[in-house]
Amino acid sequence: MGRDQWKAALRNPVGAVAAGLLVLLAILAIVAPIIWGDAAEETDPAALSQGSTSDHPLGTDALGRDILFRVLVATRYSLGLALLATAICVGAGLILGVLPAVLGRRAGRLVTATVNLAVAFPGLLLALFFAVVFGVGARGAVLAIGLAGAPSFARLVQTNVAAVSGRDFVAAARVAGVARFRLIARHLLPNIGEPLVVNATVLAGGALLAFAGLSFLGLGVQPPAYDWGRLLGEGLDRIYINPAAALAPGVAVVIAGLAFTLLGESIAQVVGVRAVRRRQPPAMPPAAAAAPAGTDAVLAAEDLRVAFPAPGGGWTHPVDGVSLTVRRGETVGVVGESGSGKSLTALAVAQLAPDTAHVTADRLEVAGVAPLGRTGAEVRELLGTKVAMVFQDPMTSFNPSMRIGAQLAEVTRVHERQGRKPALARAVDRLRTVRVPAPERRAHQYPHEFSGGMRQRAMVAMGLMSTPELIIADEPTTALDVTVQRQVLRLLKDVQAETGAAVVLISHDIAVVGQLCERVVVMYAGHVVEELPVGALGAAAHPYTRALLASVPDLATDRERPLATIPGRPPDPADRPEGCAFAPRCEFADDVCRTRPSLAAVGPDQRAACWHPRTQPLDLALDAVTGGQA
């Protein structure tokens, strides 16, 4: 793994350039003092403090020494001192970082606390402190920079040691009685080596820059020795005469520092995941037009498709040609296993699909608005508050940093341009409508002060801030416990009765849908496989619908036998079989099922997409399924 990462980092263009620069610098560090060492010391009394000339491309310093040679020769000293400081830093950091694991509990805590305290101070302050203690000069500066960086490296070691020492193999070694030092040397360090090497590389860049800083201040390398920082400090005094004398060592420091830093970061980045590229999907051939929806439809979708770019190129269609009609005031349930595309269908209808999704449809009308092809601003303007959403997870669907009342009032303030006070008064009123106790007090609380059920009520109240024509509830009860589930369903039903809004209830639980809805739409693998009135569930024709019904336990279920399940799993959207997607799990499947069936009438108000629709009535305790309905 480690070697692969280094290789991958070198294939990355940034990493390759950084590594190339480092090799170049290393060669320069070895060769430059040998070739140009004497030339860099040679004073030229005829050319003191000159700008660029043909003899001295970067000019000369106050003693007439060639700046270019001095910058090149200084490579060895600058790099060497930086690496020495890095070595001290890594060594001290390792000792400090591992000590807590070796020492007893109390002493270990003391070391950790000391490191934490030291980390709070910026490195330069620590370096200045140590520079005073160890004295001005190269030796003092190496020690100062090395020790100043040690606390943060120690923190890194501690974090990594803590992460690894929780793993099984360390626990096993401990149980086996492996001695502490052996445990560290053989089990801990080898497993945290990688992040430490990466960080030490970045650290070397930091040490180089810090060293240049100290030398620049005159606290590092002392004359007659010189490194880049020293040359920079000397050059800055004469920047008006010869800017190159200051810029050249500065550029050298930046290049060397960046080479270390970028190499380390590109290694670290190789492990990360790259974002998916945004693309346009190929146009879909239009499917056969479905029957036009009636004019009283509050939602009409024909051949709705939602596509995502696939990781390996191409597109996947989690929603693949769904047609759905919801009349005014109607309550429709959409059921299916997770991954059937039901939630994505709802999001696409409400124009809330993720950014990477590509939504197409032959026809899409929501509350009298055709949103496809319009800009976001137009959709916001037209849809306004006509569609209310209730999301699955009430714990994450509220903004944690805003009070509940403000989140509700926001709707009215934005869409009806009402003031803060009347909007909040309406929010309190709507919270009362959904039976949140003490709504005045509750409106001033934050979401984390609400229970899950209360939050879901507040979410419904948010949809009621104005009069929605369509309420889409996406698994509104899944995250709640059973008694709260019933209350929330009851609430949705009451709201529907009072406002006359149509409700689309999405659920994986056909029993929940049966309690609330008039009509059921069953989805499987991105398609609608059956549509039927709740009353006709007993006459369900599609084998998948029947299997879903059979998996609902009721009071008559034999407790001695295992609960009924549907064998197999729904196909991955990227890898759907040709023809009927349910065929691999269907006991009635034959060769005909290799062609995809389309929705066809199998009874009054009932359509199924199946070559072998079942006609035998189901032996179901229907009351258990449609319990709340009766």
Binding site: L124, R278, D355
Partner: protein, 335 residues
Amino acid sequence: MTAPVAAPLAPTRTRVSAWAGNPWAGFLARRLGRLLVSLAVLVTLAFGMIHLIPGDPVRASLGVTAPQDLVDARRAALGLDDPIGVQYLDYLRALFSGDLGVSMSSGVPVSETIGQRLPATASLAVAAFVVVMLVAIPLGLAMAVLTRGGRRRGGELGFTATSAVIAAIPEFLLAVGLVFVFGVSLGWLPVAGRGGASSYVLPVLALALGPALLMARMVRVEALAVLDQDFVRTARAKRLPPLRVYLRHVFPNALTSTLTIGGLLLSSMIVGTVLVENVFAWPGMGMTIVSSILAKDYPVVQGIVLVYGAAVLLVNLVVDVLLAVADPRSTIREG
């Protein structure tokens, strides 16, 4: 007779229990305790600095040619011949009365020197911090919005690469580059000394540019993570204008780490003034500490290290309190 005794007791007890039950009180007590411990360590280190120096600091300061009786007299004046415990107590006592000692080279009280130099350094650091915040937050948010969901890969790459490179250049090298471009080549701005508003431009820019880009990257990453959360979808479902979604729903939830990073950056910028002041001949504490280190004027160095350290600790405290205010759920409980 019992009633008058019982009456004043009752409110006291409720007050105590109210304090004990209040998570804020506990948090503040813990945090102030940590500050005091840190300050104590800082003071001890500043005191110990002069004793950690190998050899005789007075001899080092006055030079090898100084007569022995002068050295002895100076040692006695500084109290260096007393037992170390006595010296420490004297140091603490003087510190609490605002006496930071006297400069070895000029004889001026250290507190007076710091009083003269602190405003220049503080104004530089504060100005740079304000610039960082004003640039980084809008830039980071805008980049997050523009590059969300893998859009504008080119723009994203350009932004991250540019900001990474510039943020990796230390402030004093940036300062040299700025001096060259705006001072030497263009002659637009003064390159040395503290004068009118124009003298602030280059030092503040040198100090703020790297941190601003670094922080903009952090804000972007943080805002991208928030953009993916459910409550942002809820806000979109409310059909709120995008600006409102970003400012009311996304930004406040990206604030926590912005504050953390902001605090770290402010601490490092306070100390970063040392280098920038030396490039621009800015008459602040940074110039003074470097010349004092070179002159081995230890009382001045001690005093300035104390001021820098205390400033860093105070910034950390303020950031922790702000974090607790911004996200009362996590910070207070964890402590």
